[in-house]
Symmetry: C2
Subunit: 156 residues, 2 copies
């Protein structure tokens, strides 16, 4: 896993010390505000331990001057479809208020795409809530195509 | 992992002996025909080994009288978002020509949803190509909501 440093921004794999900062970014979001509970860090720490121990997962952070300003989660999914191709999936992309509009989002996604290429993945996939119109334009500008409908069944 | 048997149909985790049958189903599909190459089983066997060794993955088959009639792939993705919730993702759902319209699709998805509940997942997610209109109606009938846009960036 390569650390990428440009314009004083470091993009790297997250460590346990980053958990609180990541959770703050997840909560500071139109949809995330109602879903997150930063007051109880326990469940986040437990989830981090699972992610960190899984070689198919990489939780990513972007930092500037020691402060977290972006995060994303990358998962490699081996499959039989497409001649046994592995796909890379990006989840939970967030850019802190302070860094929005700075081009950091593009750098963060580019970092993930580079890792996916290194891993030999045949494609990178992600879904974005239908309400996030700015995000849709952003991903299309980066070359992603809106080829699929994303369905969710909430269990609890 | 529970085997489910109803109406002579068994739904279970796939073994290496199922690879050729799964690949045949992946290839016998409007979109899959151009993407698959059953003549070369090597890449499929290599991918199966990775999936089978990964505790977060479960390749699923449905069989009737020893013949494979359905397949799907289930992946558990731990994440920090949604208070450290794990999501279950379904990929590569196929029902053989012989079994289409029999209700097998519903049984197969229900099996996956049951496994996701057992695993403590907070949601089940999947994407479906925008052209698969019948599939969209099918997932909505099962309670899934089309809340997201699915983006893909093809790398090779």
């Amino acid at each position: 896993m390569t650390d990428t440093v440009t314009d004083d921004i470091t993009i790297r794999r997250a460590t346990a010390d980053d958990i609180a900062g990541i959770v703050a970014m997840l909560a500071d979001d139109e949809l995330g505000a109602a879903r997150e509970n930063p007051a109880d860090q326990g469940p986040y720490r437990a989830a981090f331990a699972v992610i960190d121990a899984d070689p198919q997962q990489c939780l990513v952070v972007a930092a500037r001057d020691g402060e977290l300003i972006g995060t994303a989660q990358l998962t490699y999914i081996a499959g039989l479809a497409r001649q046994g191709g592995t796909r890379a999936q990006i989840e939970a992309v967030r850019i802190s208020e302070a860094a929005r509009g700075s081009g950091l989002g593009s750098q963060l996604i580019a970092w993930c795409v580079d890792r996916a290429r290194e891993h030999g993945c045949l494609l990178v996939q992600l879904t974005s809530d239908v309400s996030r119109l700015d995000a849709h334009r952003f991903y299309e500008k980066l070359g992603f195509e809106a080829t699929h409908i994303g369905f969710k069944l909430i269990l609890r």
